[in-house]
Subunit: 203 residues, 2 copies
C-alpha cells in the first residue's frame, strides 16, 4: 500500500464510532470476500446471502462488478495492474462499510493471491476469505454470459481460468462447493459462517 | 464521466433493493455534500450532524479527508486532476452508501464547480449541495492546523483560498453561515434541512 500523500489529515474524532454502530445494529461488521472462477456462483450466492442476512436483521451490503465496475472503477480495465487497483479500491470501500457497521459481501474473481492479500492487509481481522469453489469444467459448462466461449475463441484476453491465471486460495476461511451442493445449501453454509464469525457485538 | 471499460456487467438483481432498505430504515438515503474553504467548519459540523442523525435513528455516515485520503485516495495528491479524481471516487462511494440506505455526509473543500457538478451528475436527485460559508479572513484567523500560515509562507501549493481558487457555489441547496452562527445553531439548521429533504420513505 502506498503512503498517503495527504498533508491535511486531522485527528478529529468521527461522529459516531464503529463500536456505537455495532451496538446499535446488534452485530459486528466484517468483510466476506468471495473469490472464485467466473461463473462459479459468487454474485448469485452473494445476492442471496445479502437477502438472508437482511431477513436476520443484519446490515449487509454486496459489492460486485455490477456496482463497482460501472462507477468507482469505470476508469479501469482488466490488466493485472488495473485489476489490482480495482480490488484495492473495493477493499477500501469495504473498510468504510465495516466502519459504518455493515457486513460487506465482496464478490470478485480476484484471481491473484497477492491482490487478495492486499485486501486482507487493508481490512485486518475483519477480512474473511471465502472460496466459491467449482471446477473449471463446471464453470465453463454453465457459462451464463457466454464469456468462456468467447475466451476459448481468443476473443477475451485476461479472462481468468482461460487466458489469465486463477490462483485458488491456499487457506481460505471457508470453502463453499457450488458444484456439489445446491444453492440453498451454499447460502445456509455462508450464513452460518457469517453469523458465527460476526456474532452479536454485545457478547 | 468515462464509459465503463467492463465487459462483464450482468443484469443480476441486487439482493436487497434500496427501496427495501429505506422502508426498513424509515427514511430516504441521500448525499449531503459540504463544500467550503479550509477551516470553514465542514468536518466539525459533519461529525456533529452525524451524531445528531444517529440519535434521531437516521443511518448516516460521514466521508472526509480523514477516512478517504488515507485509504481509497492514498494514491492521489492535490493537483487539480487528482482532486477531481478524488472527488469522483468520493461521489461514487456516496452513491453506494445511498444505495445501502444511508445519508452520506461528504465534507470536502471541493473548490471547483466542475468537480461538484460531477458529484451531482453521479448522484442525481440524491445530491444536496450545502455551502459551509465563512469569510477567508475568518477561516484564516481560525487556522486550527496552521495550514493558512504555511500557505501564506509559500510552503503549500494548491491550497484553496490562498494558492489555489475556491469557487463558491452559485446556487447551493443550503447555506450554513459558520462565521455568524454558533456551532449548535449550524448543526440544527443542517439537521432541519436533512430531515425535511430526506423525509420518511413511507410517506
Amino acid at each position: 500500500m502506498p503512503e498517503p500523500k495527504s498533508r491535511n489529515i486531522s485527528s478529529v474524532v468521527h461522529g459516531v464510532s464503529r463500536a456505537e454502530r455495532e451496538r446499535w445494529n446488534g452485530h459486528r461488521g466484517g468483510v466476506l470476500w468471495f473469490t472464485g472462477l467466473p461463473a462459479s456462483g459468487k454474485s448469485t450466492l452473494a445476492a442471496l446471502l445479502e437477502q438472508r442476512l437482511h431477513k436476520e436483521r443484519v446490515s449487509a451490503y454486496m459489492l460486485d462488478g455490477d456496482n463497482i465496475r460501472a462507477g468507482l472503477s469505470a476508469d479501469l480495465g482488466f490488466s493485472p495492474a488495473e485489476r489490482s487497483e480495482n480490488l484495492r479500491r473495493v477493499a477500501e470501500v469495504a473498510k468504510l462499510l465495516v466502519d459504518a457497521g455493515f457486513v460487506c459481501i465482496a464478490a470478485f474473481i480476484s484471481p491473484l493471491s497477492r491482490d487478495r492479500d492486499q485486501a486482507r492487509a487493508i481490512n485486518g481481522a475483519d477480512f474473511h476469505e471465502i472460496y466459491i469453489k467449482a471446477s473449471l469444467a463446471a464453470c465453463e459448462a454453465r457459462d451464463p454470459k457466454g464469456l468462456y466461449r468467447k475466451a476459448r475463441a481468443g476473443l477475451l484476453a485476461e479472462f481468468s481460468g482461460v487466458s489469465a491465471p486463477y490462483e485458488p486460495p491456499p487457506s481460505p476461511d471457508l470453502v463453499v462447493h457450488t458444484e456439489q451442493s445446491d444453492i440453498d445449501a451454499c447460502v445456509e453454509q455462508s450464513l452460518h459462517h457469517a453469523v458465527r464469525r460476526l456474532a452479536r457485538a454485545d457478547t
